[in-house]
Subunit: 351 residues, 2 copies
């Protein structure tokens, strides 16, 4: 766990905003800020498979730091993938370019559960803590965000075998064999909990839990099949003492239910106005988001207009500026740098 | 236009349900009922490109009729694709297996508008009216549903060049060049209006307008950029005198706005409970849907349980039973046949 010295460090802007404390200006970071939109990233990635990048501390640190250097964002996010811990316990997963994670032997029956042994980060994936140590050493006062997959999304990858449009096999398994599906989610929750604990112990100062595919579920199914497990995950990581963000794309219909899992902040998709999110969720959560990721593709005038409109609609307290989904690979990085400056300038408090 | 003799035919169950008139049992049909789930379809399709099928009246009629023969559904839906009229006016479009429509030269600027000349169904695509004539001759009292793409979805295909996850180029064009984007939508609306008019004149008894990709828009953007054009489309086809269904997947947040376009019925995605749709839309619309398409993958017990639950939640008047999205290719057709019987049996009025 983090020791005494940290107590003398100022609490980062991001962490204060996630705790809904007053801030001198709004913090900004971008989902997928480390990635294909940056030429310096593409250069490092050349010829290196995704999961090898995640397991090579120097490379992982380098690409994690690139967007902080270039854009001046208020947080770094660990370069990784939600399937990294699963691969580390021996499930054959490959991240195929242009496709996403592909599982060699998809999960189909109870016997497959035995393949999901518990995850011991120190033994199975020590490279992540090493990378975090390098990154936090370089970052100074800028915080590093860690992350993990939520149980349903990890289960979807394992059952489908690859990214799919509507997670039909996973959802059919939930309908047909709810007990098996629940056991699968519980085991995956344990893996994500172990991963997040280890990331926080190594130095990350906030965590985000991605339930990327939850939007394919109806609210009733989410509440019945997923919420109890996600709630356990959030409860078990509460004692780590860092703010916990919960995010799914295309899941506006699940916002209240996902908030009931118990995070400190909700990431909001660009399709839900922040004022609506605030109204629906109440004052108890910070909000993160949610500029449409296509806005930075549309030129500086649109960027400024839409950013001002978003900030006018956003809560004053408890707001972290972000896109409503990941940075699109075709984004001109100069537009993101401009966006960071714009948010800082507009939200800076006159002192 | 249809002439005298039809007036002596009984009004089909589907049409009465779409008009919210009392029915002796609920009508059932399935989006993508003609398609890959049927072995007899796969046999006919072998080696025949999709758009060639659509332009060959005998083949089009055959695959349109197959699910009516097999399942006893209460409506046929014309086998076609929303890009068929666009291809017929000379835009290079190919439907690639496993991908979807791919446009040879995507739309990028105002100059591209000139490539979208007006669509003259009788001259450009007479095969569709021929197919409709064959189909309605075979169907007897079972109605045939026609369809067209909504302007935004057609525009997305043209601008993106292929199916895309979040229509980023199309949405960026809307942000950056709203006047151009609007002109593109208006022109595409004219094409869909011409197509629907011709289909009704040839004998279809209801139409469905698919705005498949609208769900990537926020409600504010939908209302500003899309709704006025979709509203014009629905207004102009009103005089055709057949019920008009409006459908989008993953667009629960747009339900009220899409209903304002003025259809008679709203297709509902499986993620929005029918009772919620009824509450949000009021009594003025019939509802179509919305069994989760994964339910037929999960065995007969789940099928019966979920079907009963759905019917208990559905409005008594003005409900057409359907899936909440298209039939999944991996569906066992026997399950769909069973589902039709189940809905008929449960909803049959004792006389």
């Amino acid at each position: 766990m983090t020791a005494g010295p940290e107590e003398n460090r100022p609490t980062p802007l991001l962490v204060r905003a996630l705790r809904r404390e007053p801030v001198e200006r709004k913090p900004v970071w971008f989902m997928r800020q480390a990635g294909r939109s940056l030429p310096e990233y593409r250069k490092v990635r050349q010829g290196v498979p995704m999961l090898e990048m995640c397991r090579t501390p120097d490379l992982c640190a380098e690409v994690t730091l690139q967007p902080v250097r270039r854009h001046g964002v208020d947080a770094a996010i660990l370069f990784s993938d939600i399937v990294t811990p699963i691969e580390a316990i021996g499930i054959g997963v490959e991240i195929q370019s242009g496709v996403g994670p592909v599982v060699a032997e998809p999960f189909r029956s109870r016997a497959d559960l035995d393949r999901l042994r518990s995850f011991e980060p120190e033994a199975d994936l020590p490279e992540v803590a090493e990378a975090i140590s390098i990154i936090t050493g370089e970052l100074g006062e800028t915080p590093l965000i860690g992350f993990a997959g939520a149980p349903f999304t990890l289960a979807s990858y394992l059952v489908e075998g690859r990214p799919s449009k509507s997670q039909e096999r996973a959802r059919a398994m939930q309908l047909e064999e709810p007990a098996l599906f629940r056991d699968l989610l519980e085991r995956l929750a344990d893996i994500s909990i172990a991963s997040l604990r280890s990331q926080v112990e190594a130095g990350v100062q906030a965590v985000q839990v991605f339930d990327s595919w939850a939007g394919s579920l109806s609210e009733a199914t989410y509440r019945e099949a997923v919420l109890p497990v996600s709630r356990r995950l959030f409860t078990e990581i509460e004692s780590l003492g860092v703010p916990r963000i919960h995010f799914a794309v295309n899941a506006g219909h699940l916002m209240e239910a996902m908030a009931e899992a118990g995070p400190d902040a909700m990431g909001v998709d660009w399709r839900t106005p922040l004022s609506q999110a605030r109204r629906r969720l109440g004052e108890g959560f910070a909000l993160q988001g949610n500029l449409d990721p296509t806005v930075p593709l549309a030129g500086p005038e649109v960027l400024e207009r839409e950013t001002r409109a978003l900030l006018a609609d956003a809560p004053e307290l408890g707001h972290v500026f972000n896109l409503g989904h990941g940075v699109l690979p075709s984004t001109d990085p100069a537009m993101l740098t401009e966006l960071v400056g714009l948010v800082h300038q507009i939200t800076e408090k006159a002192n």
